[in-house]
């Protein structure tokens, strides 16, 4: 077991997979010689060569389109989109191509690509380095969406994503690349060295897609979260002394509905937390599912705690961010209801 931060764990996942499978190819803007603006691909080009790890032209449409073609050939590309905010030019290739290829070709062609992309805010990145667009992709049939919350999970999930024969969007919560974040932006930053999730095997292992993790058992309510929010929620719950059961969803599609149902039936209350804008976010789907399937167990309305329906602001970032205060208020409300 080694100590890794999330960048190192992600790097290790690609390293392990490139060594195991000559079909794995890493590509994207600045991922080659330099090793990526967040250094996630550092060292891979010198280890596996320029024809397997390379920089690309700055066209996200091209990056995904080329990856789809490589997938059709039989490779297993791992393209990077430098920031999730820049994924929109690739949307047609993702939605109309990668997500549809298996279906429309009767299974003749597949798109076994894993699109890595840092997402989320809290780094003063302004509106184009902070977005959480997962809710667009969870609405698209044929795409899987995965979001880790620890280095350990990041590596195991990324390996499973690369091995998966369907297109996977792998959103990396950049706010916790270097350490877990409890939402208190004005307190000193943490790193992964003291967190159990920072212990990461050097070798191959995988975490099955579609399985949530119980981060904390509890009886008062169920909290569904993913990515950065898992840590903010955990810290807030501890501080509030609420006996919450916290589920880290890890995969949004396909969702671990059994884990969700079991927990909500037990606790009778459910809160959902994400950083993405509220309206039509993945929280809406979770809320709908929970009330459809656990209606008669619910003692209070399913509560959503989210980012606001605005662009991600720069200076007022911490007013936008669903931090401890917003979550704390919601906790009070749901426990009173």
């Amino acid at each position: 077991m080694a100590r890794m931060n999330m960048i190192q764990a992600i790097n290790s996942a690609m390293d392990v997979m490139m060594a195991r499978d000559a079909g794995v190819i890493v590509m994207g803007e600045d991922v080659g010689y330099f090793g990526g603006v967040f250094r996630a691909t550092a060292g891979l080009q010198s280890k596996y060569g320029k024809t397997r790890v390379f920089d690309t032209p700055i066209t996200e449409c091209g990056i995904i389109g080329v990856a789809v073609g490589m997938g059709a050939y039989g490779l297993r590309p791992v393209p990077e989109i430098q920031f999730a905010d820049y994924i929109y030019p690739a949307l047609d290739q993702l939605v109309s191509e990668a997500a549809r290829l298996r279906y429309r070709s009767g299974g003749e062609f597949i798109a076994p690509i894993t699109v890595r992309s840092p997402f989320g805010g809290g780094i003063f990145g302004g509106q184009t380095h902070s977005q959480s667009p997962e809710g667009i992709f969870t609405h698209v049939s044929g795409i899987k969406t995965v979001i880790p919350s620890t280095p350990y999970d990041a590596k195991g999930l990324l390996i499973a994503a690369i091995e998966d024969n369907d297109p996977v969007l792998f959103f990396e919560p950049k706010r916790i690349y270097n350490g877990p974040f409890d939402g208190n932006w004005d307190k000193p930053a943490q790193n992964w060295s003291k967190h159990a999730g920072g212990e990461v095997p050097e070798d191959y292992y995988r975490i099955e897609l579609g399985k949530a993790k119980v981060v904390r058992e509890g009886g008062d309510l169920t909290i569904l979260a993913y990515g950065t929010m898992v840590h903010v929620v955990t810290a807030t719950v501890e501080a509030a002394g609420v006996d919450a059961e916290i589920l880290d969803l890890r995969t949004l599609v396909p969702l671990d509905i059994d884990a969700i149902e079991a927990s909500v039936r037990k606790t009778g209350r459910c809160m959902i937390v994400h950083e993405a804008t509220r309206t039509g976010g993945f929280g809406a789907e979770l809320s709908a599912l929970v009330q459809e399937r656990c209606f008669h167990h619910l003692e209070a309305p399913v509560e959503r705690v989210t980012g606001f329906d605005t662009p991600y602001p720069h200076s007022l970032e911490w007013a936008y961010f669903p931090g401890p205060v917003r979550i704390g208020q919601a906790l009070k409300k749901i426990m009173q209801d």
Partner: protein, 429 residues
């Protein structure tokens, strides 16, 4: 909105392109320059791309007015090959006629012909190796026919019937045929362009020998995917052939709306520093020769080629279209580059390898083959008449393995089917 105008400066004006002829206009294509066959030089396939910019502004032509194959681009094909080419082209035309009629008879929802453009897909495919990969648009049925894909398979797909290996999931003519090196057609224009580059890059990165070829219409060159593809291809010198089928119309919009007033489509290649050829798309031998040249270039690791095939869309865009609404009815006949089938036939006759009787015989055989295939396909059902796919196949292939939410929805659908009294049966043939 200001519309301000400073009196000391000229007023700006917006230029909006307009085709030369509209419904009712008499057609005169005198301004279309048709260079003499045989007059275009043939560079070495490995030559630097900036050595032959002129080839992007002319027309590579092999068949002259007398039906002879002339000049450096003459691919010198043997007569058997030429007859095979002719037969494939005749087959495409017969197939198109028949399936167009089938749609008009209500047997399916949609069809698209390639009348007048048969040389492009057929001769182009014959100049590739059988294991080279093709990424077509919806108008290259000629690829499948040139690679002897069973007609009945094509028709099964068109009818979305029991025999359709795409399980009725796709619009008619959106074929997929991996074992024939034919990529799944997308309804979204030009998405296949970067995919072809990716396939070619993969092949190169593996030290493979297979190259890729892709096609799109001149209208489709405007999509961003076109640019992404050419940019990737020039950067990595991908072994790929880009075909632009300039049939001068994109549904109701003429090629001026894709930029044809200002330059050729082959000239786009020059912008990226890659090889560009402009070819008489109704000259099967020119198409063959240009494709063979581009394939050789790709195999020599000398990079991609863009070939503009100058041709004319002789019929409507699709069965949903009525071209008499927006262009002169005289265009298809006045079009100066003639009919590709007739021109190849004339060549074979001229060199003494063909005659009218054999041609008529071939036409009969081809028609018979199409008819027989249609009969066989219709035995598998036609669209809208009965349930040809087990209902639950609707959920196959969204993912490799079906997740719980799709399984639930599938069960829901089967319950509906029960509750509905099986309305599918009502229209059973």
């Amino acid at each position: 909105m200001t519309g301000d105008h400073r009196p000391n400066l000229p007023r700006l004006a917006l230029h909006v392109p307009e085709p030369k002829f509209r419904p009712g206009d008499a057609v005169d294509f005198a301004d279309v320059t048709v260079p003499a066959a045989g007059a275009q030089p043939r560079p070495d396939p490995a030559a630097a791309a900036d050595r032959f910019h002129d080839l992007a502004y002319t027309l590579v032509r092999v068949l002259d007015e007398a039906g002879q194959a002339v000049g450096p681009w003459n691919p010198r094909l043997d007569p058997d090959m030429l007859r095979r080419m002719l037969r494939h082209m005749a087959m495409v035309r017969a197939f198109d006629e028949r399936m167009f009629r089938a749609q008009r008879q209500g047997k399916t929802s949609f069809y698209m012909k390639c009348t007048g453009e048969e040389a492009i897909a057929v001769a182009g495919t014959m100049a590739l190796d059988r294991d080279d990969m093709t990424f077509p648009s919806y108008r290259q049925q000629g690829i499948l026919i040139a690679r002897d894909y069973p007609l009945v398979e094509m028709m099964n797909q068109i009818y979305s019937n029991r025999g359709d290996k795409l399980q009725g999931k796709q619009l008619p003519i959106m074929y997929s045929a991996k074992d024939h090196g034919f990529f799944s057609i997308s309804g979204n224009l030009t998405t296949q362009y970067p995919q072809a580059v990716g396939w070619a890059m993969a092949s190169a990165s593996k030290g493979d020998t297979r190259i890729a070829a892709t096609w799109c219409g001149e209208g489709s060159t405007a999509e961003g995917d076109f640019h992404s593809a050419l940019t990737f291809a020039t950067v990595y010198r991908a072994p790929v052939i880009f075909n632009v089928v300039n049939n001068q119309w994109a549904i109701s919009s003429f090629s001026g709306f894709a930029g044809a007033e200002a330059t050729t489509f082959a000239a786009r290649a020059i912008g990226y520093g890659i090889a560009g050829l402009r070819v008489d798309g109704n000259d099967a031998l020119a198409v063959y020769a240009a494709t063979a040249w581009a394939a050789e270039r790709a195999r020599l690791n000398a990079g991609p080629t863009l070939i503009e095939h100058f041709t004319y869309r002789a019929e409507g865009h699709s069965t949903s279209d009525d071209p008499s609404q927006y262009r002169s009815a005289g265009e298809p006949t006045a079009w100066p580059l003639g009919d590709p089938v007739a021109r190849l036939k004339a060549h074979l006759v001229t060199i003494g390898e063909w005659d009218d009787d054999r041609h008529a015989g071939m036409d009969r055989e081809v028609a018979e083959q199409v008819r027989a295939a249609q009969k066989a396909a219709e035995a598998n059902g036609i669209l809208g008449h009965g349930l040809h796919q087990p209902l639950d196949t609707l959920f196959d292939g969204v993912f490799e393995e079906m997740p719980w939410h799709l399984r639930e929805q599938q069960a829901q659908m089967m319950a509906e089917e029960q509750a509905s009294g099986r309305p599918w049966a009502r229209k059973e043939v």
